[in-house]
Point group: C2
Amino acid sequence: MEYANSIVVNYRNNELATSEFRTHTCGGLRDSNAGEKIKLSGWVDAVRTFGPLTFVSLRDRHGTTQLVFSNDSKVSLEEANQLKPESVIRITGDVRERPSNMRNSNMATGDVEVVVDSLETLNTCAQLPLQVSTGSEVASEEIRLRHRYLDLRRASLQQNLVIRSKVSMTARNYLCDHGFLEIETPTLFKSTPEGAREFLVPTRTKNQFYALTQSPQQYKQLLMVGGLDRYFQLARCYRDEGGRADRQPEFTQIDLEMSFVEQSDIMGTIEGMVKKIWQVAGATIDLDKKFPIMSFDEAMSRYGVDKPDTRYGLEMRDVTQLMPQDVFQGVESVRAINAKKLGLNSFSRKDISELEALSKRLSVDGKGVFVVKVEEVANSLKNQTWKSSLAKKLSPEQLGSLNELLDVEAGDVILISSGSYSNVCTLLGRMRIQCAQQLYAKGFLQEELNPLNYNHLWVVDFPMFELDDDAKGLSATHHPFTAPQAQHLPKLLELLGSGHNAWEDAKMQDELLKIKAQHFDLVCNGWELGGGSIRIHSMDLQNAVLQQVLNLPEVQKKSFEHLLHALGHGAPPHGGMALGLDRLVAILCGAPSLRDVIAFPKSTTGNELMTGSPGPVTPEQLHEYHITVKEPKQ
Amino acid sequence: MEYANSIVVNYRNNELATSEFRTHTCGGLRDSNAGEKIKLSGWVDAVRTFGPLTFVSLRDRHGTTQLVFSNDSKVSLEEANQLKPESVIRITGDVRERPSNMRNSNMATGDVEVVVDSLETLNTCAQLPLQVSTGSEVASEEIRLRHRYLDLRRASLQQNLVIRSKVSMTARNYLCDHGFLEIETPTLFKSTPEGAREFLVPTRTKNQFYALTQSPQQYKQLLMVGGLDRYFQLARCYRDEGGRADRQPEFTQIDLEMSFVEQSDIMGTIEGMVKKIWQVAGATIDLDKKFPIMSFDEAMSRYGVDKPDTRYGLEMRDVTQLMPQDVFQGVESVRAINAKKLGLNSFSRKDISELEALSKRLSVDGKGVFVVKVEEVANSLKNQTWKSSLAKKLSPEQLGSLNELLDVEAGDVILISSGSYSNVCTLLGRMRIQCAQQLYAKGFLQEELNPLNYNHLWVVDFPMFELDDDAKGLSATHHPFTAPQAQHLPKLLELLGSGHNAWEDAKMQDELLKIKAQHFDLVCNGWELGGGSIRIHSMDLQNAVLQQVLNLPEVQKKSFEHLLHALGHGAPPHGGMALGLDRLVAILCGAPSLRDVIAFPKSTTGNELMTGSPGPVTPEQLHEYHITVKEPKQ
């Protein structure tokens, strides 16, 4: 595991000095301290004996210092040799420069060592269920989570938490410098039956429940109506999505909202903040280069996904016109990807079959891709040999055009998908990622896919509505408060002016699907860092969208009443964004899992192994909340 | 209502400028802008007509700007006159200096006005349920809470939220500068049956519940065991205490924990942070003067409370030896307060009776105080006339000593309480506050009790244990993790070494009550800002306290197992503190209620009137969480 940088908190040394326990931290001594009498406290990282000397590495969050004991020491060698790893000691001693051949340039304190003249054990350590010491093997995740207080002593986790703290503060200070107020909003909200599953919180009033907020969306819009102008919060949010990989039931988002702005104002603010975060974290970023902006349609067409990883190519091409008409008759779209070089260094018939099988599992309609390996080197591009029955059906001209369009060379692997445009794009988008991972495993794309190589990208021009999963009506692509793009507003108003309901009017529905929204996503390396939008600030428009387009259940419409009321009392034009902090930090640290950037994460099933949370409660507690646990059905 | 200050966010003006909506905020124009063409957006605060001119005050969070319309304007007077309060408009116009006799030095923009050349209504406003405009009457709290998005437009509330934001950022930046890491801890914890009532959160695993954290106490100690050295968090905490005045079910605390420190290190850090907060908020504080430190015993003896308001005197005096023995035979303690000047400007027999009746309600044992009014002015202090039957029982020497001890003058009112030392102190402590409020209402103590006059005070040397409410055993005065003072540790170890259980050994119990803890409270103006302590870092000592002193139910002991395990694996000496952010900001703002410093507060019954939270949920939701709402008993 590499880390983006090695941030050290810039405390002044004396800030951490406490009269009783330490004059310096374990990372603070330099050769300029030689000759000083100092006091340190920390954990015994390792004890090593070399001939007549014993060396003890003393560790804290700030570093490690070498302590030396000899027969001349005021503290006996025996006492030093008996020190157990992870016990806590306090020492006093004299700093001296190490002999020049003993200096360790990999350690900040590597030029010095401390000759100890007093040693006191502040706390002992029982037998360790996992190794903490630098460089020792990392235990299984279950053991680590169960003993998180030990796992947290490892430098890599501490480093992640240091970066996380820096990121939070950088975001906050940036936003405060730009006229934002940090405002806390409630997490005890009411249940609004929409979106992800909510955690419920019973109250002592019978049948009255709070629900934990999934996001401060409504509150932040109400703050804008309240004239607070610019709001932000590092907001704790809750979603009961147990079982989904690498999700946490509680997570944090950098949440903000701005009044009197257009989409570009919000994007500019966020871009500045993200660049500042990357910069402060010591990560590579070009501060002068604007993040590229790509439309949703282009992202789908080139990468088959609305959050493309643009660090590498393998882009999709439309090959519909180059395909034999008899084979692909009546097919809406045929598209292809050239997984460049995937066929090099052995790529057997079995690999092809596996790739095709994988594509069937990843496809929406069960129809996979067709995989072609390009085998022989030839002098001319047009003479590559496609090891495929398909090639036989292609004219030399078609084959030539395909080779040119897809930049085909020997050793390449071509993936072809046919069907509806939307399904083809989605499937090839997923296969593109799979191929990239396989290429990375084979030693290709090493630079591109280095976790610390970052490509930021804005994706814009999303459709305002999309078909419901059951295709019976429309739902909001992001949320019901997203405003339409200005040039689409007249059309939207015209459609709504008909008084029809979208779910009863197929033509209206088709037209509505063409309306683009003022929504924008920030993407980095194939992850969505966050999304934002300009909101609807007109009560009438918001009401029409809720009533005529979204076909919401009555209870849900009712839950928006106060928001409609607020919009009707002088809501300013406004919009905002939310960025997932956990994911952002994980990307920044190159951490493979969100659990590596959270101090006390829960498992995929929502359990915290260390404290045994969640757990049972007493009948008295349930009684107070007027609830009973249901008996299982017999 | 006065406010501590008038903080203005120091944004650079162009940071809030957005091409489409504004070049300046409504608080930004100065006479140096005269002649400029500008664009503003905001709310119509008021429309006034003077002869041929119409003035519109345009308002946003940053201030108010005067717009001028005349017959010469490009925008018709009629259009201006039709503007409704709280509608949202955008204007362009020219800045000009006001005539010298029209300047308003009470407004930041009072030297200029804007001659409008275009006006656009961005949003309308329906009939207002409450008045927002500056200086208008404040509606009832219920109306305000129901339409919080309008109430929030009032400058006083906005100012409070600005101060709150500043306070949070100041605390964070201060702590980061002192080597602290901001680390988020879970709020979904397990139920630990102790302390305040917890909110439960059912999970989709039957009979498994999360509980919302009451504080991050255990997590922050585990972070110290994890070697994170210094932690802080502005932590959201939850307590289900509905019905208690001015409490919120969710609240925020500035929470921190430090390793390798003594009590004085933590106090020094907090004191520095609090001074910085007061300074940044523009409140009066002497940065060079250390906060005074008072022992718990002294606080109880002088003020009858562990969080004394030291801005005024009215201190308690021990008068046991000066009382007639026949009246107070066998009484442990007689103590008195001189409510100086309370008898001036009419203080009738009825007032005395009411004060005595009040004291009965406030007393632990139903026994009130004895109230004496001192009536006639005389030449000698010793000759004040006590209007009381008690005076007749006192010898001239006793009366003289009392007059001297209590500094008695005509017009004073003496309150005398007798009984157990503890009850007497508690009752007189409560009566002291009541008398101070009565004096304030009479026009005395105006300077002392000004909400913006701040007295900070440390209270230390608390007992480690106290008698249970039912006096059958001991409980931890603060929490079971508080460490004993070093000089009391040997005694504590000796007592625990007996192997006895405190609740079965009356002598041991008495001795334990004398052990002082390393706990400290920060008090300001009679409010507890927060409390902290050095924690027990020895597993054996922590275990003995839990097992032999506190007599906890088995389930509760079990819930501490992981903490004991952690202490046994190299826990460093550590301690920390938590400050209530809501209360701190309320004190700083001179706000009468916590609801005035929270954007969306809940009512005393835990309801949020604006969104109608909490509310009912569907049977399907309950089904997923394996719970049912209990039927009422027939």
